[in-house]
Symmetry: C2
Subunit: 247 residues, 2 copies
């Protein structure tokens, strides 16, 4: 937790209160903060800043001199479409995609996604994981997350409208590597590396996409792109690919 994010309702004039158990525990146990200390805070969907701890009670911490003047960092112009992963890794994946600033996350069904994943109680906790990611990455604006339980109707009926720019699919048998893909874009344009990054990336579950899924995606204009001979865990692949968007 590199900042404490509070909903607008927790603010009034120059003060605010913290009543979420996880945040109170963090302030007491990790930060070991005392009355008079400065906290890095933010308002959900609002600005970042700081405040002074005015009072610490077991179930409520009061803040004074609230000062929220820093705008959150810009979001990445990116929709990440991820085959719904194992529930065990879902928390960290949502946290990381959020901390890295992905604007839109679409969790989609795929042939290699086990049906049981859609019944996981973890799926009802996405807001919690997003909050963790925002507090990690020091941002206030949640990514939009949508769940698409049916691959074919999504790809055939909705995808085309969502592709605002280039779309790529991570696929070990992609025709181009990611850097060849960027190189190709560079050669056909006057723009810089960053502006040539795709606005949509599909990343598969463990085992990747099946041929039928790849066919459907390429028919809709997605380009398959590989990232080398090495097979990465989903978490590692997502972070490594998002690394291309780092400053």
């Amino acid at each position: 937790m590199n900042c404490i994010l509070l909903p607008a309702a927790n603010f009034s004039k120059n003060s605010a209160h913290i009543n979420a158990a996880a945040q109170i525990a963090h302030i007491n146990q990790v930060l070991g903060a005392k009355v008079g200390d400065t906290l890095r805070i933010g308002q959900l969907e609002g600005n970042l800043g700081n405040a002074i701890i005015a009072d610490i009670a077991p179930e409520r911490i009061l803040l004074d001199e609230v000062n929220l003047t820093t705008a959150p960092p810009p979001k990445l112009n990116l929709t990440l479409v991820l085959a719904l992963p194992r529930p065990k890794v879902l928390r960290r994946l949502i946290m990381d995609m959020t901390a890295l600033g992905v604007r839109d996350i679409i969790l989609i069904n795929s042939y290699r996604t086990q049906k049981s994943y859609w019944q996981s109680p973890m799926l009802s906790r996405l807001d919690e994981f997003v909050l963790e990611g925002l507090q990690q990455g020091v941002d206030t604006v949640a990514p939009r997350i949508s769940l698409q339980k049916r691959f074919k109707p999504f790809v055939e009926d909705k995808l085309a409208q969502l592709i605002t720019n280039r779309a790529i699919v991570a696929h070990p048998y992609g025709a181009l590597s990611f850097s060849q893909y960027i190189q190709q874009q560079l050669e056909s344009s006057e723009s810089s590396h960053r502006s040539l990054l795709p606005s949509m990336v599909f990343i598969g579950a463990e085992g990747g996409w099946i041929d039928y899924e790849i066919e459907l995606l390429t028919t809709q204009g997605c380009q398959t792109v590989h990232i080398g001979a090495r097979i990465l865990r989903t978490e590692s692949a997502v972070n490594a690919i998002l690394g291309q968007w780092l400053l």
Copy 2:
């Protein structure tokens, strides 16, 4: 496990045997493989290939028609110096750095590394995590891992000899961003993006490096480089930075 790696001692002529419990469990429970099926295998420090399952017993699987003709993928020309992380994340970090092909890993002490981390039993299990990473990334060549429990003597006395090319330190207050750094290298050279990547990267523990550490590193020729306003978990940062080395 995207391949099963065996030590040289487990091979004889065209056959081989598997006796590690984790590999046997994987073959039976995850792959559900039967006698006659083909397995993707490799010899540690040797080639990759495949073999046919000849017999399955509870504590030993026999392989026939062993065919090892594919060289492992090249290692990244990179030494990753990582402040020893929390034991809880050490396994995944070693796995990911290994799967991504880092040649040298140095786990180093830092001001923000808790002393207790050096006592963790996880440190005696590095070989196991490396094997997991190799079997994930489909490689046979283990990274070299060294432990440096004292920061200052390492940086002052050993670092200079280890820097074969450029060295960078990930630091939120770095003078340049990673992409500005690469851009600067590009402008002063005729080489391509990939050949300008540094050969050594320092990544801090949670909380990063302290000023004293940064000073010592820059004195030895390391360039501080930031990766944007967002603060990432160590795992996310390592994978996102290593993403720059992806094909």
